[in-house]
Symmetry: C2
Subunit: 331 residues, 2 copies
């Protein structure tokens, strides 16, 4: 349950909980690990209510329903999309050596790296099984998005030892996080058998929503209120996480400040004094303003497309509320 | 080029080389890594002729053609199958920490574990893209096999710290290696639009062929002629690799010998003196004879099914020759 979230983000939670349980009910030795990872069970196999915010499947179901599609067909696609997202998280946690996710030990810390690789692979295979129930067309759409997501993940890793400018950063997040966000809308359209032009506009809409969502996330990772985000200010800098404000500052900084940024990002983790130095450069380059402008302009472009979509006024309103929430949330 | 192999194993090599190059011609930063891994390019991106034996895609194309299907459609399926096999090898090499494959450094040693995980994931996604060209039915068949393969891989890893009896071992290899072998025949039938009963018999045929192939491999890993296999005698024991002869010996050994085997397999690598002790227990329990009987009986059952299939005499002959080769090869 996400508090203060637009109603549509909670509307499908129970429905998706049941559908995910059904998709992951197998009895291979990895299945309990998968149910643990997505938050359906604790480490002893006892049911728990720990699913993530289910953003992507909720967007998909919402889009499909408002375009007149059936919830049944879209549910398999929504589950598949959520499983692809979760498969990527299992592999991502190994790559980043993250010990916890949403407050629980990550899969690789519980079963080891080798078995965690298999767990991610299996989740991907189950996702393909689910999406196939929606036909070859829907499967191709999800597969294209998965391919882009993996390529984005590879780009992100390749940035590990250098700072990138904002253009390169945007190309990476358009794939790494954007691909599945816009796929939410595209699959919603596909499951509703929407006309091609509606589908194309939804994909474009998804590109802007995805960017606004990610850059808002990046802003929160640096300037978010610690009392609300639960993370210290500048936490993404300390963790050397690539983000739009850093890429923007790197693009606009003086040669001297670029060298300072590069030197700071060559240490791991970045210590408090260096975090302060980086924050000062962000300030000098107006990185926060630029980032907020990016969020705003992407949001604006998303809203413009939204108006051109054949949706009832109430659906328009809900969708606008959701997009605004994603781009303006505080945690 | 495999020497002394039945002609059908080399028939499609050039055709498959071109099809694989086409499937992997993308320009993402991981694509050169994928072409390197399958053997199309060296580490500098220069073309080389290093593809593996292409067993699975050759079986698929052969089956499809002899059932009257078109080579064009089957080629996309054959490529997809080979890519699934190769995706599993990339992840397998990480899990086993293997430094080389077919004489070349493995992907993870070249680009690191994190990026190698992505390379495997991308290869899987490309495989799904290829198989989708053959329709949702073929995609479901390959996906089922992929799921079983991953589950077998997970079982194999779970055996890491204990010895298993032959029943459990067979259940594992039926998935880990058997799934893709029988999928070769099943996809061949699907691409030829063969009737359901032919397809079912081919799947059963594939189960026996898969077992005979794997157990022959296991026998060679222990008793193969070093001059032919290029590996010292007992090499699979030294590497603690699970295999049918070990599982068979463990099933038939006295309590004392079981304890000795368990103690030997608790060391890594197993030293020469202990390899000798293990070999002695294999001798006492007649593990080599039992293994060869398993190969023979699976081969026999495969041949019985083969006779019931609607194939031309020449195709029957080729297929029998191939199966015999897989079960009797010396390397």
């Amino acid at each position: 349950m996400i508090t203060n979230a637009p109603i549509l983000l909670n509307r499908y939670a129970e429905h998706l909980d049941g559908a995910l349980r059904s998709a992951l009910r197998g009895d291979s030795l990895l299945h309990p690990v998968l149910r643990y990872h997505v938050g359906l069970e604790d480490e002893h196999g006892k049911p728990r209510e720990g699913l993530g915010k289910l953003l992507r499947p909720s967007l998909l179901l919402h889009t499909c329903q408002h375009l007149g599609g059936s919830l049944d067909r879209a549910t398999r696609a929504a589950v598949a999309l959520e499983l692809v997202h979760n498969f990527s998280l299992i592999h991502d946690d190994i790559q980043d050596e993250d010990p916890t996710r949403r407050g629980f030990p990550t899969v690789w810390t519980r079963v080891g790296v080798a078995q965690a690789i298999n767990a991610g692979d299996l989740l991907y295979a189950i996702a393909v099984h689910e999406i196939l129930a929606c036909g070859a067309g829907a499967t191709a759409v999800l597969n294209r998005a998965t391919t882009a997501m993996i390529e984005g993940q590879a780009m992100d890793l390749s940035f590990e030892d250098r700072l990138v400018e904002s253009g390169e950063y945007l190309a990476m997040i358009d794939r790494k996080t954007g691909a599945l966000i816009r796929c939410s809308f595209e699959l919603g359209a596909v499951c509703a058998d929407a006309p091609d032009d509606v589908r194309d506009r939804l994909v474009e809409f998804g590109i802007y929503v995805g960017r606004a969502f990610q850059i808002r996330d990046d802003v929160l990772g640096i300037w978010g209120d610690p009392a609300i985000t639960g993370k210290p200010r500048g936490s993404d800098i300390r963790r050397r996480k690539k983000s739009f404000p850093i890429a923007d500052a790197f693009s606009h900084a003086t040669a001297e400040d670029r060298a300072t940024l590069t030197a700071a990002y060559a240490t791991d983790p970045i210590d408090d004094a260096r975090v302060k130095t980086v924050m000062d450069i962000l300030e000098k380059t107006d990185a926060k303003t630029h980032s907020e402008e990016q969020v705003h302009s992407n949001l604006q472009q998303a809203e413009d497309i939204l108006e051109s979509l054949p949706l009832e006024p109430s659906a328009q309103h809900e969708m606008r509320e959701l997009v605004a929430f994603l781009a303006r949330r505080n945690k």
